[in-house]
């Protein structure tokens, strides 16, 4: 943040960033006073429902949209005052298709290299390199409009990586892809990240994607940052593990509930006909303890399970709404 000394390694610094749009004589505040930092090499996910302000933020960070107020620096340069320096340091994979429909795969990669100030020879070399890295072999001379959804998205990523940028923005990279293509795309992205150590700023409304891929999740809702931590910590702080114990005898439910309530951090106890459910932190570690305690109290345990929380539980806890509601899967 400005005013506060920030770490030298921050490649993205956002301070009180806002963006308003005029829609039919009404002012819509898409992004309202965002402040955060991303350190070099981090893989951060920007998670939120559709219309939360994710893309608007990315478009400001990539110099495509001027902020209404506030400041942002990417790669050490101000997005408003030094857009050209920012553009040289970022790769941008937007929501749409980056390649033109009537252009060939290789032509687009070479054009992108030239646009990023590479020499003709370097652009050609890099195009072939990326075609191989992203498994686009044999497609080099095909028109982009003839590619499958997964191939097209890999080409988009390749286009973003032509100049080996230190920061890569991925705006909803896997939307519309089938699960197989999605997994395949991520394999490539993660391999490239391992090889280069680049910073990745990802927006997504897929909870599982944010959970599995990101080292840090920032949750945005109505243009405001409402959470910012590792997925693990967010889940244990805002959700916790749900332990469910099935007892053999309906009469022992009451006693089982008393025992379960003694667990550290226990909350949200729920009694079923032959079961007890309770939310705790670190459910995996507490489950054996709980079973032993139940046995000491002569309660016969018929079954047990721990459900790990999802980021949806976190979102539910923070907003009272489910993220899945808005997402027609």
């Amino acid at each position: 943040m400005y005013g506060v000394p920030s770490s030298d390694a921050a490649v993205i610094q956002v301070d009180a960033l806002t963006r308003t749009f005029e829609v039919k004589a009404e002012t819509v505040e898409a992004v309202r006073g965002l402040s955060f930092e991303v350190q070099a090499g981090e893989l951060v996910a920007f998670l939120g429902p559709n219309g939360a302000g994710k893309s608007t933020t990315v478009r400001m960070l990539t110099t495509l949209l001027p902020p209404s107020s506030g400041r942002a620096r990417v790669g050490g340069h101000d997005v408003v005052r030094e857009p050209e320096q920012v553009r040289q340091r970022i790769g941008y994979v937007g929501q749409g298709t980056g390649a033109g429909p009537f252009h060939t795969v290789r032509d687009e990669l070479v054009t992108q290299g030239l646009a990023q100030r590479m020499s003709k020879a370097a652009a050609l070399r890099r195009a072939d390199e990326l075609i191989e890295m992203l498994e686009l072999d044999g497609l080099a001379k095909r028109l982009a409009s003839t590619l499958s959804g997964g191939q097209r998205r890999r080409l988009d990523v390749a286009l973003g990586l032509v100049h080996a940028p230190p920061v890569l923005f991925l705006d909803e990279p896997s939307t519309g892809l089938d699960p197989h293509s999605r997994a395949n795309l991520w394999e490539h992205i993660l391999a490239l990240r391992r090889a280069t150590g680049m910073t990745i700023f990802l927006t997504t409304h897929y909870l599982e994607e944010a959970d599995a891929m990101a080292e840090r999740v920032m949750i945005i809702d109505h243009g405001v940052l409402i959470a910012n931590d590792t997925p693990e910590r967010l889940k244990s702080e805002h959700a916790g593990d749900r332990i469910r114990i099935e007892v053999a005898d309906a009469d022992s439910v009451g006693r089982a509930a008393e025992v379960a309530e003694q667990l550290p951090s226990a909350r949200a106890l729920e009694r079923g006909e032959r079961s007890v459910a309770i939310t705790v932190r670190e459910g995996n570690r507490l489950l054996p303890e709980l079973i032993q305690a139940l046995q000491r109290n002569a309660i016969e345990v018929a079954g047990a399970s721990v459900r790990r929380p999802t980021l949806d539980d976190v979102f539910l806890d923070l907003t009272g709404r489910s993220l899945r509601e808005g997402v027609a899967a």
């Binding site: 749009f21 110099t63 050209e84 553009r87 937007g94 980056g98 009537f102 992108q112 646009a115």
Partner: protein
Amino acid sequence: MRFASDVLISFRREIAPTLRSWYYVLFGLVQPLLYLGLFVPMLHDVPTGTAASPLQWFVPGMVVMLILFTTVTCGWSLTEELLSGAFERLLATPMSRPAILVGRALKELAPLLVQAVIVIGVAVPFGLALHVVPVLVGLVLLLAFGIGVAALSYALAIATRRDGSLFYMVTHSVALPLMLLGGVLLPMDMAPRWLYLASRANPLTYLVEAERALFAGELATVAVGYGAAVAGAVAVVGLWTGARTIRKASL
């Protein structure tokens, strides 16, 4: 220097698909050749102010019309890339924005210049006198004019990107009166007084007159000067508007 190389990058990108389907350029010749074959013969008894072949009077105006009608609608091709994300991808690179537009506009103009040269070549055996240097100057003026109109068309495409039919309505309701009032088809001297006055207020009129003067072999005349001023002004205003629209638009 960087601007020129960016123009070249943009032009090369856009022209590649055109080169792959070059036969469309030939299809584009059908309309002007139909005018030459089916319309020009009617001009024999029309007072065009010259004793030479009616082709001498008609061809320069028709070339202006060809450029105007194609460049005014070329924003359409941008609409597609605006919606798909391909244009945005280039905007996120360090390329100069006006250079991206100029490159795109040149891509529209290159086939038109080829067509214009063919039309001129076809008309020569039928009585068009060819003055090479003035005609080349005429083509350069058309190039500047076309870049400006194309840039305005891109600006319009960005402004109306959510509504394709609005784009067509606006372009046609601007281009058609410009063409009719520009005296492309018939001499405006024949027009009623009010129509003649309206044509004098039409910038295109001066470009058409400059092209006619250049095709007749004039170079350093008032008519050519006015036409050059119009072409230059359209280029500057067009590029300024286009670059500004890109910067301001929340694409």
